[in-house]
């Protein structure tokens, strides 16, 4: 296994994204949103984070399936 950083990034953002989305859905119309001018910012942020996380995960998994990709550059 290569230590591809897209994997931990993807995993972290997917977990946090799903968590915030669920929290946002569960607290629709709650008074905590008075702070954010009535916008349920959790739902929007949560969805964006999840999408970003999943994209990163997919990229990491695809790179791994390809096996060791030939990224050899000439070192001087």
């Amino acid at each position: 296994m290569q230590s591809d950083i897209r994997f931990p990034i993807g995993l972290l953002f997917t977990i946090i994204g799903v968590l915030i989305t669920i929290f946002g859905l569960a607290t629709r119309g709650a008074e905590i949103y008075a702070r954010s001018l009535g916008i349920n910012i959790n739902i929007y942020s949560g969805i964006c984070l999840t999408v970003f996380g999943v994209i990163m995960l997919v990229m990491a998994i695809r790179a791994q399936k390809k096996g060791k990709k030939p990224v050899q550059e000439k070192s001087l």
Binding site: S36, I41, E73
Partner: protein
């Protein structure tokens, strides 16, 4: 101030992040076999990762807190730190300086100085750099503990110990690679945590137009002239120091900040250069600062814009009712602007994300400094002067001891930092002492083969002394003699601390530059041309970028980056 309700979900998000950081360290530990792996990552990291890490190292406590505070205090002129300062310096580093760093196979900046000049020069730089990293990580540690104290209501001492332990565990587990991976993680966290903040705050102020209108009131109240756009125009009022809130004029800005301080910071600060040196090939190393420069240009949206919005809302409140609170002496509490905004606008959920982002940025500030410290200590001080000729295993163990030692001393430095009222000014002052003269030494060392070792050492020493002398003889307006200067007498008063720092850097650089040239003329060059090969521009064969397409060559990337920076300067002229 402490009525922010942090919910279970917020703690949960923070806990997940900490687990991830520790997990990454644990996984990476299996790849770390030799002391070179632990300290410099064995030069194996792809360019886009080192590129993001390169700017994330700097996206620590000072950038997030300090740039927000400066955005409020000085307005859009703060962007000059990016568009005049960082960007050209990063391009210069990638295109011209990186070939020498990477090609010389030096493991650290002081080691380059040894190869190019002599032992004294290296020792002087290693020691001053070690002291600087300890102060910098201490400042981050202070900022993070202060944040925990303000927002979470924890005890300051307890917060300090907790942050120290987290940094210790994860630096210890993975060394530089783990520090670099965490920096990339943290970069995305900052973006994720600050975008919602900017979005809501901007809406509260009635969009960009609303912010501009309110900032005109700020300029009017501050007694500036028509049409009151001092906070929203970057260059228009740079004709004289009194015409803009920063108190500088175009020469001090371009030479002091744009040339000396920025080039000094980005080109000779080992902490950032080390990120690029970890890249896997020469072209990846050269592209590292260039790739980093692209996101870097837009970071002001996340860190300076919220400060400007906060200032706008303080002049004329929006429906959200945010204003920068006042300190007991009646001045605005700029330093806490960003943490307070997070607490004011973000509801539980994204609040956890924002707090995690702040925490992550402080942690990377600390961890980055600590890893740089242990490399310089182990290679440039311990191995060179204290215990040469030991086994690799011995130095690997020493690297780990240095990490523990560095963190403990940083905790002490955090208490010192607590006694300063403005951290940003203090750090810029250290840069003027350490980085400004060093940049003159590097410039001459890399581009003038006649520069000699004795001259470099004397020049560096005179540069630092010139900075001290300048500091001792001048004061910013309204300050008392002491830590802010004037301890030798009063020759000149600057309109702001920032102006004083820019000029201190200018004097330090000039002194080092002139002295090094004069001494070089009267001393003998002890290094032969052969020894200087790969270290001096004229004696190094040009790099042939074979197999690299034209669009990813450093010169092309550099030109594109500079062009975009020029456009940004014109838009916000």
């Amino acid at each position: 101030m402490s009525h922010i309700q942090v919910g279970v979900i917020d703690y949960l998000i923070m806990a997940i992040y900490v687990l991830f950081v520790l997990g990454i360290g644990w996984v990476l530990k299996r790849y770390m076999k030799t002391s070179a792996d632990f300290l410099t990552s064995g030069k194996s990291i792809p360019a886009w990762i080192t590129g993001l890490a390169f700017i994330s190292t700097n996206l620590g406590a000072l950038e997030v807190i300090g740039m927000g505070a400066s955005g409020a205090k000085y307005g859009i002129a703060t962007c000059h730190f990016y568009w005049v300062g960082a960007i050209p310096a990063m391009v210069f580093l990638g295109v011209f300086m990186m070939p020498f760093y990477y090609g010389s196979k030096a493991r650290s900046v002081p080691e380059y100085l040894k190869l190019r000049f002599n032992e004294k020069t290296r020792a002087f730089n290693a020691i001053s750099f070690a002291v600087m990293t300890i102060f910098a990580s201490g400042i981050s540690m202070f900022a993070m503990s202060k944040l925990m104290q303000i927002l979470l209501g924890w005890d300051f001492n307890l917060s300090l110990v907790i942050s120290a332990i987290i940094v210790l565990v994860y630096t210890f587990l993975g060394g530089l690679t783990s520090a670099i991976y965490n920096e990339v993680l943290q970069f995305f966290l900052i973006v994720a945590g600050f975008v919602p903040l900017v979005f809501i705050a901007l809406k509260d102020a009635g969009g960009w137009t609303g912010v501009q209108e309110r900032l005109h009131m700020v300029a009017q109240q501050a007694g500036f002239s028509q049409p009151f756009d001092q906070w929203t125009r970057g260059w228009a009022h740079m004709g004289s120091p009194g015409a803009n809130p920063m108190g500088v004029e175009w020469f001090g800005l371009i030479f002091g900040l744009g040339f000396v301080l920025s080039f000094g910071y980005w080109c000779t600060n080992f902490l950032v250069v080390q990120r690029a040196m970890a890249a896997k090939s020469m072209s990846a190393a050269r592209n590292t600062p260039l790739i980093g420069a692209i996101p870097k240009m837009f970071i002001p949206i996340l860190v300076i814009l919220p400060g400007m919005i906060a200032m706008a809302l303080t002049a004329h409140g929006g429906p959200g009712g945010f204003a920068i609170p006042k300190l007991p002496d009646g001045t605005l509490d700029y330093n806490n602007t960003i943490p307070l905004m997070l607490g004011h606008y973000l509801p539980s959920g994204v609040l956890g994300l924002g707090l995690t982002a702040l925490m992550a940025s402080f942690m990377s500030g600390m961890a980055g400094n600590v890893t740089a410290f242990n490399t310089v200590w182990t290679y440039d001080i311990y191995q060179s002067y204290l215990r040469p000729g030991q086994s690799d295993k011995h130095y690997l163990a020493m690297g780990k001891i240095a990490t523990v030692f560095g963190i403990i001393v940083s905790m002490g430095a955090a208490y010192v930092a607590a006694s300063f009222n403005n951290i940003m000014d203090f750090l810029q002052l250290i840069f003027a002492f350490v980085n400004a003269p060093l940049f003159a030494t590097f410039l001459l060392g890399m581009f003038w083969k006649r520069a000699t070792g004795n001259a470099a050492f004397t020049g560096l020493l005179s540069g630092t002394l010139a900075a001290a002398l300048h500091h001792g003889l001048t004061l910013p307006a309204g300050a008392h003699a002491g830590i802010k200067g004037g301890w030798l007498g009063m020759v000149h008063t600057y309109p702001s601390e920032m102006a004083q720092n820019f000029w201190a850097a200018t004097f330090a650089w000039t002194a080092c530059f002139v002295v090094t040239i004069i001494i070089s003329m009267v001393t003998r060059q002890k290094k032969s041309d052969d020894e200087l090969k790969g270290l001096v521009y004229s004696l190094t064969p040009r790099i042939k970028e074979t197999g690299v397409p034209w669009y990813s060559q450093p010169a092309t990337l550099g030109t594109i980056v500079l062009a975009v920076a020029v456009v940004l300067n014109i838009i916000f002229w």
